[in-house]
């Protein structure tokens, strides 16, 4: 089950991280993405990536602790994928979780929907 942070990242069951449709809508057109490095170790809450809209830069935090398994290099040439398909082609990185139990502390879809109401 996909989980959500209060900072509007999502993380799927297989550890794929991105930002929510709500977040991309709020940020507006994404023009640049700074990706983490494959193999990088992150603790929950660490700054993992940066997405830049026309107006401003926003940090993307690791929703849980783990090691970066993969990064979405397609975003380098086409950062707008985060706007057009935030939950599919616009994913940002994939984590190998240290402890899948950490996800229990995050919001489920219903709780996140409440947050963004």
């Amino acid at each position: 089950m996909t989980k959500f942070t209060k900072d509007h990242e999502y993380i799927t069951e297989d550890g794929t991280v991105g930002i929510t449709p709500y977040a991309q809508e709020q940020l507006g057109d994404i023009v640049f993405v700074e990706l983490p490095k494959v193999g990088q170790k992150l603790k929950a809450g660490d700054e993992a990536a940066v997405v830049e809209s026309v107006k401003a830069a926003s940090e993307i935090y690791a929703p849980a602790s783990g090691t970066v398994l993969a990064i979405n290099t397609a975003l380098t040439g086409e950062p707008g994928l985060i706007n057009s398909a935030p939950e599919t082609d616009g994913w940002i990185f994939k984590l190998a979780l240290d402890d899948a139990g950490e996800l229990d502390g995050l919001m489920d879809a219903a709780a996140y929907a409440d947050l963004t109401k």
Binding site: Q26, D29, V50, V54, K55
Partner: protein, 389 residues
């Protein structure tokens, strides 16, 4: 992330229109204004470069400075009103022809910019002895106070910021406006006039801050909504928010007050030598003349440059480094250019690092990125100048 405008924010006359159009309202210079509409900044930006964009800039400071006692001789009255404003600025207002608009700077005693502004001489003979003055939103109260004080006893400053000020910008702006106000299409760049509209008067200048051809229109509160709706009903026109206004003016290489200009920055440092009029240089009769004339003679610590930035946008405040990594200046405006699909910036560097082609670096989130000095505008201006009549 959702912005909730503070309760004490002022709203513009067309606030309900912006909300109805889906504008994302944000606080800016004390006003609640749309930063973008649902299509987003990049689409709005490109639309304005290709068609016509409608901007609500009613937060700015339009005003009229009018002689208390006119002689009735248009030239003499113009000279009299020009003499009241010129001690505050570095432009030649006396030399304006009827209907001409001039970009100039309000300076402090050390030659720093208190604001950049437009001053215009009315075209109509009967309006001799008046000036149309438009200042920036963030500085308008101080500017108006300064101008009113300088003119006290001889002329009165009438604020018009209760009206709506609209900018219609883009290559199709002239044909759109021709359908509504036929006469306005005959204006040349940096000229203005007064035009009838539905029983009201519009003050229209052929000017703007996007680098495109276009118009700025001052409209009475009673007719603001009618005019806005009328312009927007044209398929060639879309509403444009503050976000694209900023990216458009950045591509046009135009300085934004409070960012690329402030009270420490002189017109020469800002690359605005053209705004220091020849007559005023010869007379050395403007605020900060000693510093500014010496800078014009080549004694200069920093100048404004345009930068092409590799990779992530370098935002305001980012340090500029030379190719060896020494800090030499700061970015004052930076972002993404939708037209060029790359990061661009304006900033200040020493004159020996300001030649186009000079390789530099910018520090973004602690990491140096390559940058190169380039000429501005980044995107060519497309102003429409008509031959003098």
């Amino acid at each position: 992330m959702a912005e909730v405008p503070a309760a004490d924010l002022k709203t513009v006359l067309l606030d309900d229109r912006h909300v109805a159009l889906g504008g994302r309202m944000v606080p800016f210079s004390g006003y609640s204004l749309p930063v973008q509409y649902p299509t987003g900044i990049i689409a709005e930006h490109k639309w304005c470069r290709e068609h016509a964009g409608l901007f609500d800039v009613s937060h700015m400071g339009p005003s009229f400075l009018v002689l208390d006692q006119k002689s009735g001789d248009g030239e003499a009255d113009h000279a009299a009103i020009a003499a009241l404003i010129e001690p505050l600025i570095c432009g030649d207002i006396r030399g304006l022809k009827p209907g001409q608009v001039r970009y100039t700077l309000l300076l402090n005693e050390t030659g720093g910019a208190l604001d950049d502004l437009m001053i215009a001489r009315p075209a109509a003979e009967g309006w001799g002895g008046a000036l149309y003055i438009v200042v920036n939103a963030g500085t308008k109260d101080a500017d108006f106070q300064r101008i009113a004080a300088a003119a006290a006893g001889q002329a009165t400053l009438n604020r018009s910021d209760h009206c709506a000020l609209l900018a219609l910008q883009g290559p199709e702006a002239v044909e759109v406006l021709r359908d509504v106000i036929p006469g306005a299409a005959d204006l040349s760049f940096m000229h203005y006039g007064s035009f009838d509209f539905d029983g009201s008067k519009l003050v229209i200048s052929r000017s703007g801050y996007t680098g495109e051809d276009g118009f700025e229109i001052l409209v009475d509160p009673s007719h603001a909504t009618i005019l806005f709706d009328r312009l927007l009903s044209d398929d060639r026109v879309r509403p444009i928010g503050l976000g694209a206004r900023d990216s458009l003016r950045l591509e046009a290489g135009l300085p934004l007050y409070g960012h690329d200009l402030d009270e420490t920055i002189s017109p020469v440092e800002a690359g605005l030598n053209f705004a220091v009029a020849r007559r005023r240089r010869d007379a050395a009769d403007f605020p900060g003349a000693t510093r500014i004339l010496s800078e014009l003679g080549g004694v200069l610590d920093r100048v404004r440059v345009g930068l092409f930035v590799e990779g992530a946008p370098a935002r305001e405040g980012a340090e500029i480094l030379d190719k060896y990594g020494a800090v030499i200046g700061k970015v004052t405006s930076g972002g993404f250019s939708p037209s060029l699909n790359r990061a661009i910036a304006l900033g200040f560097v020493p004159p020996d690092k300001a030649a186009p082609g000079t390789p530099l670096q910018v520090l973004v989130r602690g990491k140096p990125q390559a940058a190169e000095v380039t000429t501005t505008p980044f995107v060519p201006h497309r102003y429409v100048r008509k031959t003098a009549k």
